[in-house]
């Protein structure tokens, strides 16, 4: 039994954490939050240069070949730092979709550019309100041309290419790849201004088909759920640390507020939720690396757990801070916003809970 990351990956984690605490400080995050820049382009270039975007991409396709456990370690730090970069869209969704469903030629063409950050990818799934279900897909490809609207698309405003879920000529949902040059985009205001979102309107856009149908879409979502769970765990951990530090520093009634049981027990509950989420995410990391047969169930479990942990930690971090916690100037709200962004972006908690039980039922039936 060795249910922990290797020493090499722990070193990587320390290195990434140090790097991001310098290169992705609160000031950097706030440039996006305050609308001074759409995303942290300099940071993105650096991350690309380090080979982190392509951590799990095989070396033959320009990746670092660190494997999925490595990508998980990175994801946690990206989440902890609130990094305003299209990491998940590019690495977990676009690259994974091409790896999963693309032809060798498609992989060879796109993965190296995604891996080094020179091309940003986005995953165009949602068409307005609703869960990520086949019935929600109305975009359609006819004769190699895509028509339909996708919104919100995370990083849709800054991406070079997109993987789109649309119906093929037989009416089945499938994965398509499109260059975004010439596609009408509208930047959207969302709850999380540190992450770019857009609406993409495809009007007879030329696309090429990736392999696979809805099964591939779901496979991409499942794998991304584990990676996003690490971002959520990183964010929740950051919130707990912020709240703990504040509770030690801030005095009321002549003693640190962290000596009051109301605060102590609140933080204990945050810790418990975080530990459960972390343990579930770890199992997800293993399942990703091993491409385990129970990956879908593990992914749903990790997502449910991580969404709950980050939700609790980000909202109770604000509460622990009191008045200062709901000002724009303090970072609490940036985590709270990111928590909801991550919690909604590939389907919300009710959707994943439902899916979890589907998988539990089919496992028990087996």
């Amino acid at each position: 039994m060795n249910f922990d990351f290797s020493d090499e990956l722990k070193q990587l984690r320390d290195q990434v954490r140090r790097f991001l605490s310098e290169q992705c400080s609160s000031a950097v995050v706030r440039r996006s939050a305050d609308g001074q820049e759409v995303f942290a382009a300099d940071l993105w270039r650096e991350i690309g240069r380090m080979g982190w975007i392509g951590a799990a991409i095989p070396e033959t396709f320009g990746g670092a070949g660190l494997g999925y456990e490595g990508l998980c370690v990175l994801a946690e730090e990206i989440g902890r730092a609130l990094a305003p970069v299209p990491f998940g869209s590019t690495a977990y969704l676009t690259a994974e979709a091409i790896l999963t469903a693309g032809s060798d030629a498609q992989r060879r063409e796109w993965l190296p550019k995604l891996a080094d950050g020179s091309v940003i990818g986005c995953f165009a799934l949602s068409e307005g309100s609703g869960h990520p279900e086949p019935a929600a897909i109305h975009a359609r490809v006819v004769g190699g041309f895509l028509k339909g609207s996708k919104w919100p698309v995370a990083d849709g405003g800054i991406a070079g290419i997109t993987v789109v879920v649309a119906r093929d000529e037989s009416g089945q949902p499938a994965l398509f790849l499109a260059d975004l040059a010439g596609v009408r985009r509208r930047e959207l205001k969302t709850l999380d201004p540190t992450r770019n979102h857009a609406r993409l309107d495809f009007d007879a856009t030329s696309v090429e088909r990736l392999g696979g149908g809805w099964g591939s879409v779901q496979r991409v979502l499942d794998r991304a759920a584990i990676l996003f769970a690490f971002e959520q765990v990183g964010g929740a951990d950051a919130c707990l640390t912020m709240a703990r530090d504040y509770a030690l520093d801030r005095y009321a009634f002549g003693r640190p507020i962290g000596s009051f049981q109301a605060i102590k027990h609140k933080l204990a509950d945050m810790y418990v939720a975080l530990e459960l989420a972390r343990s579930n995410a770890y199992y997800g990391a293993w399942a990703l690396g091993a491409d385990a047969t129970d990956l879908p169930l593990v992914a749903a479990t990790a997502r449910v757990s991580a969404t709950e942990a980050f939700d609790l930690a980000s909202k109770e971090n604000i509460q622990t801070h009191g008045g200062i916690g709901f000002t724009w100037a303090v970072d609490c709200h940036l985590f709270y916003r990111r928590s909801k962004q991550l919690g909604l972006t590939i389907g919300s908690a009710p959707f994943w809970k439902h899916r979890l039980v589907d998988l539990l039922e089919s496992r028990n039936a087996a």
Partner: protein, 410 residues
Amino acid sequence: MDFNDTPEEAAFRAEARAFLTANAKPRVGTRPVLRQGGLDAEAVVRCKKWQAKKADAGFACLTWPKRFGGREASPILQVIYNQEEGDFIVPRGLYEIGLGMCIPTMMAYAADDQLDRYVRPALRGEEVWCQLFSEPAGGSDLAALRTRAERDGGDWIINGQKIWTSGAHLSDFGIIVVRTDPKVPKHEGLTFFFLDMKSPGIEVRPIHQMSGARHFNEVFFTDVRVPDSQRLGAVGQGWRVSLTTLMTERLAVGDVQRPEVDDLVELSRRLRIDGKPAIQNAAVRERIAEWHARSQGLKFTRFRTMTALSKGETPGPENSIHKLVNASKQQDIASYGLDLMGAAGLVIDDDLAEAYAMFQSALLTSPGMRIAGGSDEILRNIIAERVLGLPPDSRADKGIPFNQVPTGRR
């Protein structure tokens, strides 16, 4: 039990309704009132006009003495007026603090000639008041304030900083509690004043909240001079005066918090899960049922309070339950509404967002509701101590000179 007005109440309600019908537009439709920023100059003018009109018609500050323009009415009539006004679109947000808290404190402590000077202009909305209590170092520990006042002949010189002051930038006057003796225990060294907000040395800066709103201010005091005649209560009795202010009955109905449960019902009728309206989903239904039960419970708790008022009783700390229950409920409903929308729940653009983006807006304002005006934790303490009679927390600062109370680990 009955839900009917007494004849007197019914007559008054009809009178109020007639006034409102003649002077304001009824509220229709379900679009919520979202107040994102503070009041702009135009809104201030509208507020002032409306308050003057209410005063002329005798509907401002109904419980106040007749000599200041009130009716010396029972508090239940004020509740009835507020209920009726709630059905109309009227300008709000400028006088709640001044008329609800500041002037009542003045009436308890100021000299008669001062009341003659200040009360009627406040009631008529000509002069706006704010309340300067909270400080950065205080928070839930309100009495730990550090703004100093030092005697200088017949005046006091104030230095320090207040925070979370609603409407400071729009106010003509303010009430303030400051420390006049740091060498005695916390509650004993405070003194209470009212002051002219246009005094030299006062600087007001808006606070940018996480929701984007700027309702509140920081107020900085640099050698601000206040005559001793503007002291309310004795030197060192400021805490006692503050309690008067804080206990002031606040019976305003206020804007209904949106989204309410019915908004979630509407939303779940429109959204679909698994091809069916979300409201047919049992998980959605259970949450709606729980929140409905809580909303109704609060509504009928308010009815019980009104009944007590109607009988001349004074409602007490048990009213803390309203904000305690509502703030978390708002946060939960908002979050759950977004979950039903899925990724689209992130979007706040007006033309795309569901339900006028009210769920998104509430997600960002509800954390403040859980803190402002007594955090969840303080409200639970109040219920435990003042309703259930449990002992206070053990206090590390009890009986210790204020300037020797620990204030930080560094």
